[in-house]
Amino acid sequence: MSTSFENLTVGDMIDGPKFDVSRESIRLFCDGSLDYNPLHLDDDYMKNSFGKTNFGGIIMHGMNNFGLITRMLTDWAYPAGAIQRRLETRWLKPVKPGDTIQPLGVVKSKQSTQKSNWVLIDVLVRNQRGEHVAAGEAMVEFPTSGSIAARAG
């Protein structure tokens, strides 16, 4: 059954894809994002401390979380003709090679405005230990019929 604005209920869950983090996945994200910061590449550099923090090795890009949350939201929204309009995230814990992460969404509220319908979604990313590594909030628009083609332009 496809999702629609009418049949969504506060508390509805969105399951995101599991993602295995490895040195190779982080390297591929460097190539995909053009972000070659040594935080993600250079083990010797990562022996340094950053302020009071020592990561003990390379870490995944925070924006890899952002990309995975987006993948979850758009895979959920597209079949309903809905559009990801906003995503806000913050990082809570570093993610390292060997971790498996998975984003999750929970419908927080629904609101109709003068011209459209909006769903607010709490998002988070958990690792294999159940720890929250990223959290945030998204807005998905469910356009009223007829408007999507014009807006998708």
Binding site: G32, L39, E88, W91, G136, A152
Partner: protein, 158 residues
């Protein structure tokens, strides 16, 4: 490897030319460069996060949707941030830690678009001995349409 062969992947290069926290002036525009977004670059980004939606890969499918053709996923600004800035931009400074971002999406980017960026630091502050800069960005396509706009916070190397 499939795109932007001129892209400098050694972020230590030109590191001495980049602004440190003390030099960054909130409100001052960052230097940016137009970037031709290719299908190859979109699909390489997609593979790096496991995106496999046919809107990004299957033109025959995409043409039949309201989008009328292939698009990039909303999160493509992750790539555009580095593609549209020069090697001496402070976002490349080794040790730059991303503390969080918020983005609003208007129109999808498409393969073949020439993307431009208007960007600046908007604010800087010290919190618990850490040096923060707030950055503020808007990406446009070649028609002058806003693709997306966003803000983020980075912690600068001390």
């Amino acid at each position: 490897m499939t795109q932007a062969p001129a892209f400098e992947t050694d972020f230590w290069k030109d590191a001495n030319l980049r602004k440190v926290w003390d030099d960054i002036v909130p409100g001052e525009p960052r230097k940016t460069i137009p970037y031709k977004l290719t299908l190859e670059a979109i699909q390489l980004y997609c593979r790096s996060v496991g995106e496999d939606h046919p809107l990004y890969f299957d033109e025959t499918y995409a043409k039949k949707t309201p989008y009328g053709g292939l698009i990039a996923p909303p999160s493509i600004h992750i790539l555009l941030m580095f593609a549209c800035t020069p090697t001496d931009d402070w976002m490349r400074t080794p040790g730059t830690i991303n503390a969080g971002q918020s983005w609003s999406y208007n129109k999808p980017a498409r393969p073949g678009d020439t993307i431009t960026l208007q960007a600046r630091a908007l604010d800087k502050f010290i919190k618990r001995e850490r040096l923060f800069v707030v950055h503020d960005n808007v990406f446009f396509n070649q028609h002058g349409d806003v693709i997306c706009s966003g803000r983020g916070q980075t912690i600068r190397p001390a």
